[in-house]
Symmetry: C3
Subunit: 466 residues, 3 copies
Amino acid sequence: MALHPDRLFPVDADARSIARRLYAEIAGLPILSPHGHTDPFWYADNAPFPDPAHLFVVPDHYIFRMLYSQGVPLEALGVPRVDGGPTETSGREIWRTFAKHYHLFRGTPSRLWFEHSLEAVFGIEERLTTANAERLYDVLAEALTTEALRPRALYKRFGIEAIATTDCALDDLSAHRRIQDSGWAGRVLPTYRPDAVVDPERPGFADALAAFLSLTGQPSTYAGYLEAHRLRRAYFKALGATATDHGHPSAATADLSSGEAASLFETVLAGRADARACELFRGQMLTEMARMSLDDGLVMQIHPGSWRNHNPSLFHRFGFDKGADIPTQTDYVRALRPLLGAVGNEPGLTVILFTLDETAVSRELAPLAGHYPALRLGPPWWFFDSPEGMRRFRETATETCGFYNTVGFNDDTRAFLSIPARHDMARRVDCAFLAGLVATGRLDEDEAAEVATDLAYRLAKEAYKL
Amino acid sequence: MALHPDRLFPVDADARSIARRLYAEIAGLPILSPHGHTDPFWYADNAPFPDPAHLFVVPDHYIFRMLYSQGVPLEALGVPRVDGGPTETSGREIWRTFAKHYHLFRGTPSRLWFEHSLEAVFGIEERLTTANAERLYDVLAEALTTEALRPRALYKRFGIEAIATTDCALDDLSAHRRIQDSGWAGRVLPTYRPDAVVDPERPGFADALAAFLSLTGQPSTYAGYLEAHRLRRAYFKALGATATDHGHPSAATADLSSGEAASLFETVLAGRADARACELFRGQMLTEMARMSLDDGLVMQIHPGSWRNHNPSLFHRFGFDKGADIPTQTDYVRALRPLLGAVGNEPGLTVILFTLDETAVSRELAPLAGHYPALRLGPPWWFFDSPEGMRRFRETATETCGFYNTVGFNDDTRAFLSIPARHDMARRVDCAFLAGLVATGRLDEDEAAEVATDLAYRLAKEAYKL
Amino acid sequence: MALHPDRLFPVDADARSIARRLYAEIAGLPILSPHGHTDPFWYADNAPFPDPAHLFVVPDHYIFRMLYSQGVPLEALGVPRVDGGPTETSGREIWRTFAKHYHLFRGTPSRLWFEHSLEAVFGIEERLTTANAERLYDVLAEALTTEALRPRALYKRFGIEAIATTDCALDDLSAHRRIQDSGWAGRVLPTYRPDAVVDPERPGFADALAAFLSLTGQPSTYAGYLEAHRLRRAYFKALGATATDHGHPSAATADLSSGEAASLFETVLAGRADARACELFRGQMLTEMARMSLDDGLVMQIHPGSWRNHNPSLFHRFGFDKGADIPTQTDYVRALRPLLGAVGNEPGLTVILFTLDETAVSRELAPLAGHYPALRLGPPWWFFDSPEGMRRFRETATETCGFYNTVGFNDDTRAFLSIPARHDMARRVDCAFLAGLVATGRLDEDEAAEVATDLAYRLAKEAYKL
């Protein structure tokens, strides 16, 4: 049951040989993780990770959503209630439930990430079953108490060169400060994520906005609000940030006159913005953020198109990020035009687009990225950070915008132990794709080797200025 | 020209060997056909099938639409006129026309189904040509007169364990009663299809609604209308039904208050419903049907997104189901939210979604089915019940919702002789997909074998409670 | 670095052998190029082509858009300014810039077309590098002065049997007349492209319309306007045209009463048409053009769905066709219904649909073309005239509408030297697809060979009446 050394490579023997050669050259490259959601306090505190269930199951929405979809209550998986309901389930019980339903993950990337972690981190080459669940739990739990499995040791063992976290615009970044003050050699960068103070439709927006202005000492005017962003961006940048991150319901952007924008801000501030005004405000702020990026050099990431919290009763009981964020069809051509009209021709700006709607890749995203100097395509992501998703991304993007309008791989994860597995998967799938090009006479192998390195390492380093 | 024993398997020798082994274990499993459109009177009467042309060409919209698209008039194919126009064409003439245009089916599933039927049922291993058309016609016509080719004998020979028909809510199910009274061992189940009394925009709706209330002795109120559905569902269930089936123009659902719903029903009853109100009424009824399913345990099937009768002059001359039903882009995320908000978290409910818009699979359907306990994905269907369609379905669904949020294969056909061919195709394509996972180190072969059985048999048995 | 003899064939040895055999039979077939944008004056004047940069880089939007997307200014590529700005860059400088960024084209069809041209036309088997750029420039520049590389010689050497140009409805076709008068054996056909006098939203429409009526001596009435089209179509047809071509923002069609249409024309003529009226007028004209095609036999081509000139500041400086035309999502089912209701059942009419939105192929276009006698699908085109694009087209179209509702390959290019490369690519990809069908038991090889010839030659000849 050990990991197959040729996993994810082409089945044809010749193409597989090419993939092997390409992969051998890049398998050991350092990991750059410029977009993700690990907890900066892990690196600051360097405390041991919790038990196996609370490491692998409870925080991973890929895992618990699949179990939930087959009738396992989230309570039985230890997912915390936000409505005061009871939630106590022991790690061991959760693990047993996971083992019992392990077959559900056949054919999914979760299965591959999990088994890669088991083998690479814990040396376990058995498939999880109801029979060995207890024993494996003990083995994992024991190992997790050791120094070698603490966050900083794993950071080093995984070969991570830099990792970005995602942080609210209001965050004081105390974890990041502590990391830097500690003298530890690891590189953990914050990322400026201002959705909480940009999206009037988010719960708690009014309070967040007030706190934002107060924190930066700015007046309640549009000019003050923009200056508050500039100040917070500068603060994040001073602590190492190289990027911002924006997750909006749609890709809508706007480029209003300063008078219109100021007036819209007043409407928003007064809590009188309707759905259309909220959409317009979010869109205006994307363009403002792009302009600020031109000034301060932070790379801008946009990932639109998720219908957050689609399941109302589940949201009431368990809150955000519980696997009920569902992708929607996303238009980019009309939506991005105001932003692109304003700053799309700036070669000094980098705007990285992610999509949850893969039908837009060949039709809209690759043509846009293959034209506008400021645009790059982020890797396949969230439901598409998978072998088939990655393959389809290369097949639909490359012929139109090439490899060099993409930015290498992001793991986009909060599951720290899965990071090497995810990067390894991306490297293998990219090598498989490149091997296919070589085997069919579309690319010479020396060039493919160069591209493999670019996709695994160099493009991320350049795009994110790492 | 005999069927290739390795057809539809991977071309690579190693992967092909794996597929062969997987297929060998499931090739002989019984056929479950829980969604289809065969005529229950076939099994009740057990009369011989008609001549080859009226068996293979005249009733098969996949066949005659292709011929029509290349200029063959439907009259020349014996398709009956509904406007009183002349239609007489002999079976032999139709067959000759079919043979003359047989090359049009190259690369289509119709070709594979037809040749599978010829070989498996009639022992014919020749390709149909203008040269052998007459002779093959005679051979087939002769064979069709034998006892061995009557419906019940074929049912047994095909290894069918259970087959569902699709029946109007007004149907008296006399065929089903006769089948059950006959003591025959075959299992033929009705399916409750209430579109005729649910969709105010269907021709004849007012009369159907009146008949529906009269048949069940219910008053012309919303409460009476809902009770009429409950009574008819109970009647269908008593005769073996385990499922309902709903084919709407869109996936729109609604969850109105009882007062709003009652008032909407009055508008519909009065014939005053405009397009928006009709859409709302259909949507409300989907949610009501889901609630009734929670009570009576019938599995609910929804297949939205077909623009019926797109060709007006053809519809005028030939009526419904003449190959002019064209898929449209279909939104599921917004459309299903009312229904899912009402019953989506019920693990005791099964709602099976089909799609004619495959772009929704990776973006919307797999994420929804990979979260909501009540949702399952039906197999690729209608234009996608084909090798490439099935492959793409597995490639786009599996990584997000796994195999176990799908329900095995449905043949969805009115062409009885093609049923073994269609199931065999699905089994082969699924084995090919699984072999690919095994060959690329993504799944162990023992697990793939279990999944192959699940997809070919067990998932349908469970989902449809057969 | 020479072209791989098996390029674009399947990697599996058996499937590759089949592809080789199929390809060997069609590799030498004449080229039919019934839809393209080469300059008719090339064939009329038979003057030498310009220097290598002005042949390969400056006029090819696939090339310069990729370079532009990575920060190379269009000025540095010699693209002429339309706003009076400076543009002078020498061919040699442009070529150096191209060589320096040549890696950007890895994995793109531009790379394959370019290298095929280098090898087939110039005998160069080296990869372009900064090191050999100067030398290759000299070799190419020298060769381009020879008689053998003039347009008419290349036409013959490429094995072109007929090539269509695309010509404005106002064009006097003087080049075509000169070609015909010259007695040269080549066959260069004009194509009637009336967008300039059909789309009220195009810059210069009013003047074009006035010129159109004046040229044909028609009054400013709808009847006069339609008659003007008939006269111009007849003029084009007399000079060899067999087709018309229509590039609209959407696929919208209309079928107004003659009174409504006349009144709409008056609104348009008066310059009072708003966006909705412009869309309606374009849609009405598509139906009128289809009716005229029924009368005069010209094949009708429709290619909707491009958002032209998406980049406003670039458009201001460089004008049309600068790589900023971006595909948009395109509906065909609702949009085409008026036209199809009017003429879709006419087997004597051929309407060829192209799409820039490949998601519509399996959902809408193949079902429509697999039903309506008048419809055929054009080849994958513009961003999809690539190995993966062609493969996906066959995979998503064939099972529903077969091969015979498609029309073979069009190169759609203004890059004369790439024509053999593009046709060779299409032939290889189609042979690869067919080989896959044969290797998986879906098609017999003798039939595949017939289909290969049909796709490479016969279907274009028939569809375009060449």
